[in-house]
Each structure stands twice: as structure tokens, then as C-alpha cells.
Amino acid sequence: MEIIEQIRIVEALLFASDKPLSAIALDDCLPEGSDIDRLLSELQEHYSGRGVILVEVAGKWMFQTAPDLAFLLRKEVEQERRLSRAAVETLAIISYHQPVTRAEVEEVRGVSLSKGILDVLMEAEWVRPMGRRRTPGRPMTYGTSDHFLVHFGLNSTKDLPGLAELKAAGFLDNVNTSRLNLLDDVKPTEEQPELPGSAGE
């Protein structure tokens, strides 16, 4: 049998097999006196640089998608999720009051902040850590990201409507805005983030 015929056999066996095959197992299907190592190396050579390559894993042989094309076999799908009311409120408070610590958000909301909420907002890439405050305990402060501005079509957080504007737009019925001075709160001074891009805080 010609070499090319033997290579074809090895090629078909490896292709159709549902598990990697050892050189010995392949040799069993070949005529007496075949040089299986040579066949495998020629086959490997034939597939080098192709979309599929022949690899040896743990002493056995198999075809595999070329590593640089592995991306073809990964499909990313976007799954839309809704934010909870608590998350929306937390995001709003962070965007209006930034930079703000977790304790401050809790104080403003009047309830403690469950662990997941900041994670979700950071996963959505709307909220980012903004450095530690120079106060006892040096708590981390949070603010909004550039992605937040892009998502909501804002040039800067200064573009967020103030309370008077919100009231004029009908968002704040029954609220006497003169008693709300939160927007005029003096903001504590911030340090620059000590660990730039220290996500996960």
C-alpha cells in the first residue's frame, strides 16, 4: 500500500474517532510494516498552518481547531437584565453625590447596602472606585465611570439635572425643594485613587 493510502487511513480514523487515538491503536488498522510515526508526522505536516491541526495529547493523537481560530467556537450572547429598584437608587445616589462612600450611600438611603448591589453596578461598568477618603478607616469612595456617561448620553455628571429641574420636569411632586439642600452639600476632598483601576473594591 502506498504511503498516501496509509496517510488517508490514519486521517479518517482520527477524524471519525470519538477519542484521541494512540499510535499503537492506529497501527493496528494499517498493513503490516507501516511506519506509523512517519505517517503521523507527515499528516501533522500536511495540516500545519491549516484551520485544523493534528496534536499529540498525553501520547495520543487528535485533530483540533487551530488555536488562533478558537474564537470561532466561542459565541458571546448578550443577556438583558433589569436592575432592582435598590440598585437604580444606589446608582442615582452615587451619580449625584460622588465621590461617595458605601456608608454614605447607606445613610442617604436609610438602609444598609446589600453586597450584590455595588457588584452589579461595577459589573455593568457604571460605577468605579474613586480612591480612599482621608478620614478614619480610609473608606473607599465610588463614582460613575466614563461608560456611565456614554450609556446615558451625558457629557459630564454636571449634566445631570438638579433638583429644581427635576421638580420642573414633574419628577418631584409634593416635595418642597427649598428644604432639600443635599445637592449643595459640601463635598469632602478626595485623594487620587491609590490603585488606579483597582476594580473589585
Partner: protein
């Protein structure tokens, strides 16, 4: 059309059992090996000729009737098919043998024979193509797909949807809940008892007989709230006048209208 021997590949369960040659040159066919009378006819026809177009229908009928006579037709439902075919063939045979009477309604015996030949040829043709079909390279029998397909890994990325409106609404709702809201208590519109008494005293004299109390509602009653207040006050006023002995009140049924009339004091 090429002809193939039916014993090939997929037809291996056809039992064509040849008897020993000394017992005449005839075939004994086991009915269990057949797929109905047409199958038997086709097999019998093959013993005559390779070309089905040239078979002798008369001879075929003879063969079939002999087959049915010798076969052990035990199962009734199986037997019925063969007996119907036998009867039809016997009829066809008689038509073929007797001089043909021309009839407009029926097919001629030749046409009937031709139809039978056609059916046999068609079944034969289908058998040939089915043999060809089954001898094709079949997936997972002769040819194989990739044994270790590499699955597409789907990763789901969460995308959070939130509009600016929802964000602002969230903030505003929060402010609304946490702000000290101004509560205005509106002055309630009421029709006082004094007003009612005055009206009732003034009007009751003009009515000569029993009159529905609510006939005395002023025309300008206005809001529903005001109407309720007037009704309540008029009712209280009527009770007051009855207590004073200036009026009589009658109600004929529960929730029915209240009738009132002036009562002249007899003092």
C-alpha cells in the same frame, strides 16, 4: 430498466425455497415470506420471464391460483388479501378467455391485464431503487462525521438596561420618600345645619302635601362633596323640625325616600 435478483442484500428474507428437482420443476413458496399478493405475483412473474413486460398473464393467474390453493392460509386477515386477489384474477382469466363484449363502462380485459403488469413493474422498479438507495454510503455506516465535534461555547454576558429617565426617576422617588413633604389640608366645603334649617323652614310652608325631603336640595348644589353635605344637613334639619313638632316625617321602606310635610302646631 435493469433487473436485479430480488435475493440481494435487503431482500434476504424472501424465501424462495426450491424443492428437490425430482419432484417436478416447481417452486413451493412459503406465504410467510411474502409481503402480500402483489409480492407473490411479482415473484411468480420472475420465474416466467426476466422482462416483466413479456410475462403471460394467463400463466401468471394459473400460478397464483395454484399458489393460493397450496398455501396454508391460516391467518384470516392475511388470507383475505390473497383470496380477493385470487377472485379478481379468476375474473380476469375468464374475461381473457371469453370473446370480449364491447363495453363502454369497463376496462377491457387487455387493459386490466396491462394495469396488472404496470403494477408489477412499478413494484419491481421501487424494489430496485430501494436496493440502490440502501446500498448508498450511509452516514455512520459507511461514512462518518467528526467523532469529536468541538462544541461552540456560548458565554452569556449580562447587559443591564437602564434609561436616563429610569435613573432620574429612581433618584426623584428616593428624594420624594425621604423629603419632608408639605401637606396642604384643604378647607372642606360644608352646608351647615343652620343653613339647612333655615332653608327647610322657609320651603316647607310652600309644599302642600308630603314632599320628598331631597326635593328641597338647592339648585346650586355644586360638587359631589357639597351635595353630600347638604343632604346630611337637610336630614338632620328635618329631624330637628320633627322634634320641635313643626314637621312630620314618613319613610315607607328601608332606604326608601323620606317624605316630609309641615305640621301645624295645635297649641
Amino acid at each position: 430498466m435493469k433487473n436485479k435478483e430480488p435475493e440481494q442484500s435487503v431482500f434476504e428474507d424472501v424465501s424462495l425455497v426450491a424443492q428437490p428437482p425430482d419432484d417436478e420443476e416447481r417452486l413451493i413458496l412459503d406465504i410467510d415470506g411474502f409481503e402480500g399478493p402483489l409480492d407473490v405475483l411479482l415473484t411468480l412473474a420472475r420465474t416466467q420471464k426476466v422482462d416483466l413486460k413479456q410475462i403471460s398473464i394467463l400463466e401468471l393467474v394459473q400460478q397464483f391460483l395454484k399458489f393460493v390453493a397450496e398455501a396454508k392460509l391460516q391467518k384470516l386477515e392475511t388470507a383475505a388479501d390473497y383470496l380477493v386477489m385470487a377472485a379478481w384474477l379468476a375474473y380476469l382469466k375468464s374475461r381473457l378467455l371469453l370473446p370480449e363484449e364491447s363495453s363502454e363502462d369497463e376496462l377491457s380485459a387487455e387493459e386490466m391485464a396491462a394495469r396488472l403488469t404496470y403494477q408489477l413493474q412499478r413494484l419491481n422498479a421501487i424494489r430496485e431503487v430501494s436496493a440502490n438507495l440502501m446500498s448508498r454510503n450511509q452516514l455512520n455506516r459507511d461514512v462518518f462525521a467528526r467523532g469529536m465535534p468541538e462544541p461552540v461555547i456560548v458565554t452569556k454576558n449580562a447587559v443591564y438596561e437602564l434609561s436616563l429617565y429610569e435613573l432620574l426617576k429612581g433618584y426623584a422617588d428616593h428624594k420624594t420618600r425621604h423629603a419632608i413633604a408639605d401637606i396642604k389640608i384643604h378647607k372642606r366645603e360644608i352646608y351647615t345645619l343652620d343653613q339647612a334649617l333655615e332653608r327647610l323652614r322657609g320651603l316647607i310652608g310652600t309644599a302642600l302635601d308630603w314632599t320628598d325631603l331631597f326635593q328641597f336640595l338647592p339648585d346650586y348644589a355644586g360638587s359631589e362633596e357639597m351635595t353630600r353635605s347638604i343632604k346630611a344637613s337637610l336630614f338632620t334639619a328635618s329631624l330637628e323640625m320633627a322634634r320641635e313638632g313643626r314637621a312630620e316625617i314618613v319613610q315607607k321602606q328601608v332606604f326608601g325616600p323620606l317624605f316630609i310635610r309641615k305640621r301645624n302646631r295645635e297649641d
